[in-house]
């Protein structure tokens, strides 16, 4: 009996999935865009807000009558933060769903895995990952764009601020994932330009529980500041350890720090932490005439109302990507090549959440370091540093 | 008496287990073609000696010669390849394989094939497979297991498991077989059959046998000579008759002032 029951459950589940699998066949001429996000897995801190943003935008746009009357359909696939899954997701979107363009993936590795697929399929991809190799060399990345700022831009923002403060020796501590590694490389690459010496170069795993050792080493190396490059719980633990150790030197975080949740988790320890953040996080502190302010305000408030949490910088990447494609669709219609050309040539002085975009055939990202503000945590809130 | 050539010579072997002397200066010869029994009370070191001969344990001191060649401290598989095969006190069959397969594995030692090349032999059944199959069936007929070739070894009754284990040892075509308590767990009828098979192996196949056994009836019936091991030392070595009358042996087994009755199973 038990066996029969289990077999039954298995069959039902199997049928259900096959049914759902087949079901998504037809709708009435909607514009289909695909989205591949790391909704689960180690990079879910990126994929989650991105997914939410996509769902919210789809709802908003369709409520407003769609794109030139066509409803917008965003088909979201979860990559589980895994490259193989990213490849499969993209193939599914291209083959089964016949999407016009793809948003995402969330991480650099996954984006890189999709480059040859998108080039073969001659379909535009707007990545939500920061890594420079995603869009460079541009010649071999004909169909690929990305919306996040370069890591080097965030680093330049930090180094530039440090130079003003007279800091020239830093110890860096990075998470041993693609995100941390990209930051680490950028920190090394940009250091000479700003006359900065890296006295210690430490790492930790994404699930590590204590970074006191690495911080102690940095302190002993004579560094005048610590830069931590990570996302997830790691940055909170580093902040707590930094505060407990009373290191006496300032702690800088990456742009991954941009969520109130982090301040909440770190509590008092977060006081004084400095980070380069996109304006999305500090929109309420921008002057009213700032070109991004209106859009940031609407996005943040809508998101908070719908999901009871902040979109953070990462949700913004998805926002920018989707809005670019929506605008292109509106102007040129459902033609992959034309969409690509539109994004490459017509996105100029285009305010997004990440900054003011200026795409060109030489630059498929279109942002520079001015996209960041240096922000310090004060009394449990952000404060823009001048 | 069978032959005068020593097939196996054990010379001054010592073995300690963590300070406990298991074997002390053991000297023992097994002559070509004889059935030699090794008896002694529990814990006397009989199985230890078999394990040392077959290479499972290393000896501390002394040497072992097989066909005048030193074999001590070689790995078990090398010793087996030199022609010493054995069975175990707790039957060590390939329990999940069939009776036939057990024997076929036994033939491996004489029909080595190359591991990586085996995948490239693209005929349905190779000639050597056929040969091994035929020989294995003959062997099973020989030990009267011919009717059970496709049974899973674990499902055989213990008596047949023991016989199968002996047959597998024979399949390696050894010069010497070490049998470790082959009659343990067998009833009287099975024990008699076992005795018959052991005798036939010696007589028809000319294989020398060294036997560790508690069943005195079996030992006295089939052995040409008997050695007695007590507290790691050989205390007697001779024909069954001589050993039965040896005073040291009687003391070792039964304490002072008593006689061993022939056929008395010491262990029960």
């Amino acid at each position: 009996m038990k066996k029969a029951g289990a077999v039954f459950v298995l069959i039902v589940l199997g049928l259900a999935s096959v049914f759902l699998f087949l079901q998504n066949a037809e709708a009435k001429e909607p514009y289909k865009i695909g989205a591949v996000f790391a909704v689960t897995g180690p990079a879910s801190f990126l994929g989650e807000p991105e997914k939410n943003t996509a769902l919210m935008l789809q709802e908003q746009i369709n409520k407003a009558g769609g794109i030139n009357g066509h409803p917008l359909e965003i088909i979201i696939e979860d990559t589980k933060s895994d490259e193989t899954q990213a490849v499969l997701s993209a193939k599914k979107l291209l083959e089964n769903d016949k999407v016009l363009a793809i948003i995402g993936p969330s991480t650099t590795g996954e984006s890189m895995a999709l480059v040859p697929i998108m080039n073969n399929a001659k379909t535009p991809l707007i990545s939500c990952a920061a890594g420079a190799p995603i869009t460079m060399p541009v010649k071999e990345r004909y169909w690929i764009f990305k919306t996040p700022q370069y890591d080097t831009s965030a680093v330049e923002a930090i180094y530039g601020y440090m130079k003003k403060q007279g800091i020239s020796k830093v110890g860096i501590i990075t998470i041993s994932t693609g995100f941390g590694d990209a930051g680490r490389k950028a920190l090394h690459d940009m250091a000479p330009k700003y006359g900065i010496t890296i006295t210690a170069d430490e790492k930790y795993g994404p699930k590590d529980s204590d970074m006191t050792t690495q911080l102690t080493k940095i302190k002993a190396s004579g560094a005048r500041a610590v830069i931590n490059w990570s996302v997830g719980p790691g940055q909170v633990i580093v902040t707590k350890n930094w505060s407990a150790l009373k290191m006496g030197i300032p702690l800088y975080q990456s742009h991954g720090w941009g969520s109130k949740k982090n301040i909440e988790l770190a509590g008092k320890a977060a006081e004084g932490v400095i980070a380069p953040l996109g304006r999305l996080v500090v929109w309420d502190k921008l002057p009213d005439k700032h070109p991004q302010k209106a859009l940031l305000k609407k996005y943040t408030q809508d998101y908070e109302a719908k999901y009871k949490g902040e979109p953070g910088t990462f949700g913004g990447h998805a926002y920018d990507s989707i809005m670019m494609i929506v605008e292109a669709l509106k102007k040129v219609g459902p033609d992959k090549k034309k969409i690509r050309d539109y994004i490459e040539t017509k996105i100029k002085k285009w305010p997004g959440t990440g900054g003011i975009f200026n795409m060109s055939p030489e630059d498929h990202c279109g942002l520079d370091k001015t996209a960041f503000e240096m922000v310090v945590v004060k009394n449990g809130d952000w404060e823009i540093l001048k | 008496m069978y032959g005068v050539i020593n097939l196996l010579s054990i010379k001054g072997v010592f073995k300690n287990f963590g300070g406990l002397a298991a074997l002390q200066n053991v000297n023992l010869n097994v002559r070509q073609g004889e059935i030699k029994a090794l008896i002694g009370p529990n814990g006397a070191g009989k199985t230890t000696l078999l394990n040392i001969i077959s290479g499972i344990h290393r000896l501390d001191k002394g040497e072992i010669l097989f066909k005048d060649e030193k074999i001590n401290n070689l790995p078990p598989s090398k010793i087996a390849n030199k022609g010493i095969s054995r069975t175990f006190q707790h039957v060590e069959l390939f329990g999940n394989m069939t009776v036939l397969e057990n024997i076929m594995v036994g033939f491996y030692a004489r029909n080595k094939t190359s591991f990586f090349m085996d995948g490239f032999k693209f005929s349905f059944i190779t000639d050597s497979e056929k040969k091994i199959y035929k020989k294995s069936r003959e062997f099973l007929e020989y030990v009267k297991l011919g009717h059970k070739i496709n049974e899973i070894a674990l499902n055989l009754p213990i008596g047949e498991q023991r016989i199968l284990e002996i047959a597998r040892a024979l399949a390696t075509e050894p010069g010497l077989i070490l049998l470790d308590e082959p009659a343990a767990g067998l009833n009287i009828r099975e024990t008699r059959e076992l005795g018959e098979i052991i005798k036939r192996i010696r007589e028809e196949l000319g294989i020398t046998i060294l036997l560790v056994e508690h069943d005195m009836e079996l030992v006295m019936n089939i052995s040409d000579s008997v050695a007695v091991l007590n507290f790691g030392e050989i205390i007697a070595d001779g024909t069954p008759m001589e050993v039965q009358k040896n005073r040291d042996v009687i003391v070792a087994y039964l304490g002072e002032e008593e006689e061993v009755q022939p056929g008395y199973n010491v262990n029960t």
């Binding site: 790492k203 997830g232 633990i237 407990a244 988790l265 | -």
Partner: protein
């Protein structure tokens, strides 16, 4: 120099205490079933997240929250055993281990569904400044973790050595048939071991969350490290698991401090492999002890 060394040591102890607790959890189930329960890390996560739920979300007083967490974790252990382990009579060991892996996947799914993906934290058991020893600091919560770990081992030691139930549980793994013949209710003992192991895991989770935060997918890493700790000490030996845990923790910290932080996991594993090479059944289990067990 001393300060730096001490700081590395304290950091190692903090990390190691967690591994030790997970390692003990492995042992409890192993000792009564021979199964390696790879959902052990999830028990730790459950402990941390439930403690957050009871103390921060429901605002229960501290001890009530602790009690509720322990009871509900025990229930999870019970449920897992009754639903997946009990129905299988006489199973293959590897299959059981695979089942614990698939159970851990289900648990992660449930935790993600209930708690989402973000990390959680609550205040340490005692608020206050870290303790300063020769210039190196050790957080108060770390002391809690270490003392609770030690307390757990002592309790478990007494349980397994002094109580009939404890001894009966040990007997189950070595020879279930014999234990059954001796009148031990094997099925009940297995159930008990899952409950106990879930509780020990939860204790670990409750104590480390204020230090290391807790999120739904921290389990696999904890399982792997705890497994290594248990193996290093010798499966079945709680003393071994604790020492194994601390050794791995300190090795990681010292490697990060004196060699290179990117290599800390690898160095700890190389040492583990070396230990296994010379002592194939761990530090505290002798060869003859390990031969009693099939696995």
């Amino acid at each position: 120099m001393l300060t730096v060394f001490l700081q590395f040591l304290f950091s190692g102890l903090t990390i190691g205490a967690v591994y030790a607790l997970v390692g003990i959890g492995f042992n409890i189930i192993y000792n009564s079933t021979s199964i390696i329960n790879l959902a052990q890390g999830e028990f730790v996560v459950i402990g941390g997240l439930l403690m957050w739920f009871f103390s921060e979300s429901l605002k229960l007083p501290f001890f009530a929250a602790v009690l509720c967490t322990l009871i509900s974790s025990g229930l999870v252990g019970l449920l897992i055993e009754r639903l997946t382990i009990k129905p299988l009579k006489n199973p293959d060991l590897l299959l059981m281990i695979m089942i614990t892996i698939s159970v851990s996947i289900v648990l992660r799914g449930v935790l993600m569904f209930l708690f989402g993906k973000e990390p959680y934290v609550y205040p340490p058991f005692t608020e206050g400044e870290p303790i300063n020893i020769y210039g190196a600091i050790i957080q108060q919560q770390t002391l809690w973790v270490i003392s609770i770990t030690l307390f757990c081992i002592i309790l478990l030691f007494l349980f397994f050595k002094r109580t009939i139930t404890g001894k009966a549980m040990l007997a189950c793994a070595v020879n279930p048939t014999a234990a059954k013949l001796a009148g031990v209710n094997v099925s009940k003992m297995v159930m008990l071991s899952f409950i106990l192991s879930a509780i020990v895991g939860a204790i670990g989770g409750m104590t480390i969350t204020p230090i290391s935060l807790m999120e739904y997918d921290k389990g696999p890493m904890l399982s792997v490290k705890g497994f290594c700790a248990a193996i290093m000490g010798g499966l079945g030996s709680n003393r071994g698991a604790v020492i194994g845990g601390f050794i791995i923790g300190i090795l990681e910290s010292m490697t990060a401090g004196y060699v290179h932080s990117g290599l800390k996991d690898a160095v700890a594993l190389v040492i583990l492999l070396l230990i296994l090479f010379f002592k194939p059944s761990g530090i505290f289990i002798t060869k003859s002890m390990s031969q009693l067990r099939k696995f």
